[in-house]
Symmetry: C2
Subunit: 431 residues, 2 copies
């Protein structure tokens, strides 16, 4: 990587210098967390924590113990401890990541399955309480799986799906809306919605909100209880670093739990699981949103990820996320604007998450070239018009300010040199 040593030449606007950046790392109260992660290829600048978080050292060790000591040795006797894991790890997430109460978070299934369960349950309840409420609302730019789940549930319940601009939610809500589904941080733009504000707005229209926290939890503050949020889901493989396809979670506020019925009735959501009775009765608490046998080997990795967040503290992580994304925006403005990039993500810190999206007509090729020839790993998301954005997601637990600097230097040099020309294909990337 000869580019590493190169420094940027001309730029638009004043930017800090590398020495300033190194000073930020030296003063970073979270810098000690980087060594808690496996860094196999030190030359690779990994800026895709918004898609798949790195491997924590503790997770490898923890997984080895679960496999050898629990599955391998305790065998079926392990269930005496495993049965409580989905709620025990959920309580940890509630306390250290989500700002929720014990008994309000359950870990298991995928984000999509959890979205399905809560969308179906909440839409059914709304219709039961008021048959006129027949519309499910979401933002047109919401993550595809969120939109697809809503589209499917709307069809099953004889309801309608309304896709709206994020800025026009007020006009889209009314006496006909059964549920609003919103991502706290938008995957494409990196924009962050106001949890408390939208929850209150929807409530003023008699409508509940289902929040998708996948792109926010672990990197920005998520205060579910304080925001009055009633329903949420999220994944654990991004900023929670629980591994590819790790179990997701769902949140239902305690007061709403008794009113909701999951559409998937399973033996792990049955009130008295081992009586094996003829009829189904849902468990009284958050357990009613479980379904089948929980992913026992995945749960300790969620726990290990949540423990790291708890140890660092969301406030410190959020502050570093702001500083990291500010640095990206500063360097993008100075170095990349002349190269036909523009910053899609909001500039006001409270209105963005922990990743920054940079639009460019050749974003797809540039992303491919960065990965294959510059050892920088961002990801690419296609836009409706055929162009797209490069997303840079510096994870505050393990990304250094110098990593961001280095990635921006390589990105600038690559595009300046035209090295992306000829990279025509991006492989699919999983958000």
């Amino acid at each position: 990587m000869t580019m590493t040593a190169m420094l940027p030449a001309a730029s638009v606007g004043a930017v800090r210098e590398l020495a300033d950046i190194q000073a930020l790392d030296a003063a970073d109260p979270l810098s000690r967390f980087r060594e808690r992660f496996v860094i196999s290829e030190p030359n690779v600048v990994y800026l895709d924590g918004n898609s798949l978080g790195r491997l924590p050292v503790a997770s490898r060790e923890r997984l080895g113990r679960v496999v050898d000591d629990e599955w391998g040795t305790e065998l079926v006797r392990g269930w005496s401890r495993w049965l409580d894991e989905p709620t025990r790890v959920g309580d940890l997430l509630a306390r250290d990541v989500l700002g929720a109460e014990p008994g309000e978070v359950l870990v298991g299934d995928s984000t999509t399955v959890n979205l399905f369960k809560l969308t179906h349950a909440a839409a059914s309840l709304a219709r039961q309480q008021d048959p006129e409420r027949r519309v499910l609302v979401t933002t047109a730019d919401n993550f595809p799986t969120d939109r697809y789940v809503l589209e499917g549930v709307a069809g099953q319940l004889g309801m309608e799906l309304r896709l709206v601009d994020a800025g026009k939610l007020d006009a889209a809500l009314g006496p006909d809306t059964a549920l609003l589904s919103v991502s706290h941080v938008e995957y494409a733009s990196g924009g962050r919605h106001d949890l408390a504000g939208i929850t209150a707005l929807a409530r003023s229209h008699g409508t509940r909100v289902l929040w998708d926290l996948s792109h926010s939890a672990g990197a920005v503050p998520v205060e579910l209880t304080a925001s009055g949020a009633e329903l949420a889901v999220g994944c654990t493989y991004k900023y929670l670093n629980a591994g590819p396809g790790a179990p997701a979670y769902l949140y239902v506020s305690r007061g709403l739990q008794p009113l909701l019925r999951s559409p998937i009735w399973g033996w792990f959501s049955q009130a008295d699981q081992f009586e094996m009775k003829a009829g189904y009765a849902p468990a009284p608490g958050i357990g009613r949103f479980a379904a089948g046998t929980p992913p026992i080997l995945g749960l300790p990795l969620v726990e290990a990820g949540a423990q790291l967040i708890g140890e660092a503290g969301i406030a410190a992580l959020a502050a570093k996320s702001v500083a990291l994304t500010e640095l990206i925006i500063e360097l993008a403005d100075a170095w990349l604007t002349p190269l036909d990039f523009h910053v899609v993500t909001p500039r006001e810190a409270s209105r963005r998450g922990a990743h920054v999206s940079l639009a460019h007509p050749q974003a797809r090729q540039i992303c491919r070239a960065l990965i294959e020839s510059a050892d920088v790993i961002p990801d690419f998301r296609a836009a409706a018009d055929g162009s797209g954005t490069i997303r840079l997601g510096p994870a505050p637990l393990y990304t250094r300010y110098a990593d961001v600097w280095e990635a921006m230097v390589r990105l600038r040099n690559l595009v300046t040199a035209g090295d992306h020309v000829g990279f025509s294909e991006a492989t699919g990337r999983v958000s």
Copy 2:
């Protein structure tokens, strides 16, 4: 374990002797597979392979590679290989375990979620093809989660659930039945149903069958294609040894796939996942039954488990299962009948699976005492009348004939000595 050395005293009927049993092990063509599993406590006789299979040595190594080399090193770039894993591992299961074709099996989600997807899809299709078909049928003794899922789907679709005795299926099927859901091997009794026969019977009534293969796949022959089966699900943590809460699988015959729509619309079942288009369109093949991000760390363990089955061969495994369960029945008849036990499981080999259920008025206490004071691990299932059965599930890949002998000796001696008196509680066991 002083009991280990004790030999049985009086018995009813002639039984083989220990030397005969040792000869069976010496001649066992599968004996070499035992060393492919981690055996942490050699004195423990593990007879709960029907609930949670042992840890394969290869799985530990494989998991370490996936964690270190794939997640830890490739990071998000791993998706270029991971995207195909659910169908690639599904194809392996299809070929080596399920007697199905490539492109007919998908690995992911839990058995319960997969039951939900296929029950909802098949019931919806039946009603669409004939609005008179409004009844979902299952056996009264079917596994609880199967019954609960059907009960929930029946409610959502405005249908009715009909619970029937397994022997009276013919009378329960007719022009009003939309779907029959049956476990190939019943969890409680160990009885095995006739895949081809019941499939044909239901078809003669214009009704499709959804098979639950959880208690059969990997231990008895499952010839889905040859049986004309169209729909099936199953777990991988029993005879497939993929670990606690491992990803489950679903099977849909190729011809039926285009007619079915999963109720859970997710980005992994979308025809063109990374176009992120506004509207949902299901993928053309088995992938349309996926939902969210697949459990990447769990899939290699399903593969490792299936590879062991494939290497041993289902025919050899099934033959050994017959011999192992025959030995249990022979010893139970001779030694346990005088102690108030009776064998619930069918005596005809083709009519049972790979586990044997022994009813006893104090089954719960005996099971507890076996685990805690005799180092024999079976499991317990409560019966509707408050009594219950001890289930003995010798897994043909790693259980020796001498293990069965030893367990039966310990069981007989324990009950003869009254050592189970005072063991009042069985912890919940997960099937």
